[in-house]
Amino acid sequence: MDERELIARVRAGDGAAERALYDAHVDRVYRLAYRLAGDDDLARELTQDTFVRAFERLGSFRGESKLSTWLHAVATSVVLNGLRKAKRFRQRETDLDEATGISGGPPPAEPDLKRRLAQAIDRLPKGYRIVFVMHDVEGYTHEEIGAALGIETGTSKAQLSRARGKLREALADFAGEWVS
């Protein structure tokens, strides 16, 4: 079944077509939601909201882009709104981590690098973090990121570059040890 036919069948209320659309995209939507939320319950909720909204709004999809591009724009919008609502909760978690001194620490080792990297990613400015996760972690292209976030491809590239720079700075002690 090609994409146009699939969309037409979903619009006509065909349950099997709805399921086919869901199966084709759910992994990528859930993975992105999980990577950005870092919480299974929230990721599930955001994924569900994405598909509920997508099915409701498919009537307004004019076919000017690929369905996957449109769906990921819906997903990123739902995820970013959801994260904004959960921000207070995330802030409390970060404060708790800082209070317990997780960011300080023992001599560098690889597991510690992963932990420190995760913290450094969490602390990136929101735009940098989203582009970094989408590109370097989930493998989205700059074109896909631009379409999903409504930004220019060049902006996506610039934000990725700045994100990497900030991560290098945050993990300079690791780099120093391993580069030398």
Binding site: Y22, Q48, V52, F55, K114
Partner: protein, 210 residues
């Protein structure tokens, strides 16, 4: 280790950043279908309430209009005929029908709110219904009902409660919900409302406060 190797190491390490488990496809699908069914149901209920609300408002407005028109007519003393009373009776009947519907629906809403609204997340449906009924409450306060002191006091209490429910935020506020239910209890709003609702089946009820 070179700078490039460090970059590669970073990229590899980043794969472990919030590494997602296997996608819970079936569970999420069930929930999506459930959420969509609830939304469809919610929209149907809203549509039905909107129709009822508009109908009640229209009948009330008609009743009030007829009432005012007949009230302005000069009485001819003993010369008043049956024909002269017809508009007045029609107005009273229209008012009673509309008022009975309004009171029954308000009672259903408040009963539902009291039993179903969870303190942490009152359903947005209650707020929407309260907004619809609030308009009718204001019309009722401008109708012959407001001449009855007991009913006027009830309508004023209902206006306050409906306004509070209508303004509840989507996420809900535990204290607001508690204040509303507390107000309902303290002023015996539901009891007074049930007493005011005319008894008997059908839209035209001739008992109660009307």
């Amino acid at each position: 280790m070179t700078g490039d190797r460090f970059e590669r190491l970073l990229r590899d390490a980043a794969q472990d950043y919030h590494r997602p488990p296997e996608t819970p496809r079936e569970e999420m699908w069930r929930r999506i279908m459930g959420a969509r069914a609830r939304r469809r149901q919610h929209m149907l209920v809203q549509r039905r309430w909107l129709h009822w609300g508009l109908g009640i408002a229209a009948v009330l407005a008609l009743g009030i209009g007829i009432g005012r028109w007949t009230a302005r007519r000069p009485h001819g003393g003993g010369a008043e005929t049956t024909a002269g009373r017809v508009p007045n009776e029609a107005g009273t009947l229209a008012y009673r029908v509309a008022a009975a519907q309004y009171l029954s629906r308000t009672e259903a809403l408040l009963t539902g709110f009291r039993t179903e609204a969870r303190p942490s997340a009152p359903d947005a449906q209650f707020a929407a219904q309260a907004r619809d009924l609030l308009t009718t409450t204001r019309l009722m306060l401008d109708s012959p009902a407001a001449r009855d002191g007991r009913l006027k006091a009830l309508l004023e209490d209902l206006e306050l409660v409906l306004a509070q429910i209508a303004q509840l935020p989507a996420g809900g506020d535990k204290e607001d919900v508690q204040l509303i239910t507390q107000g309902l209890d303290e002023r015996s709003v539901l009891l007074r409302l049930r007493t005011a609702i005319p008894a008997g089946p059908g839209p035209v009820r001739m008992q109660g406060a009307l």
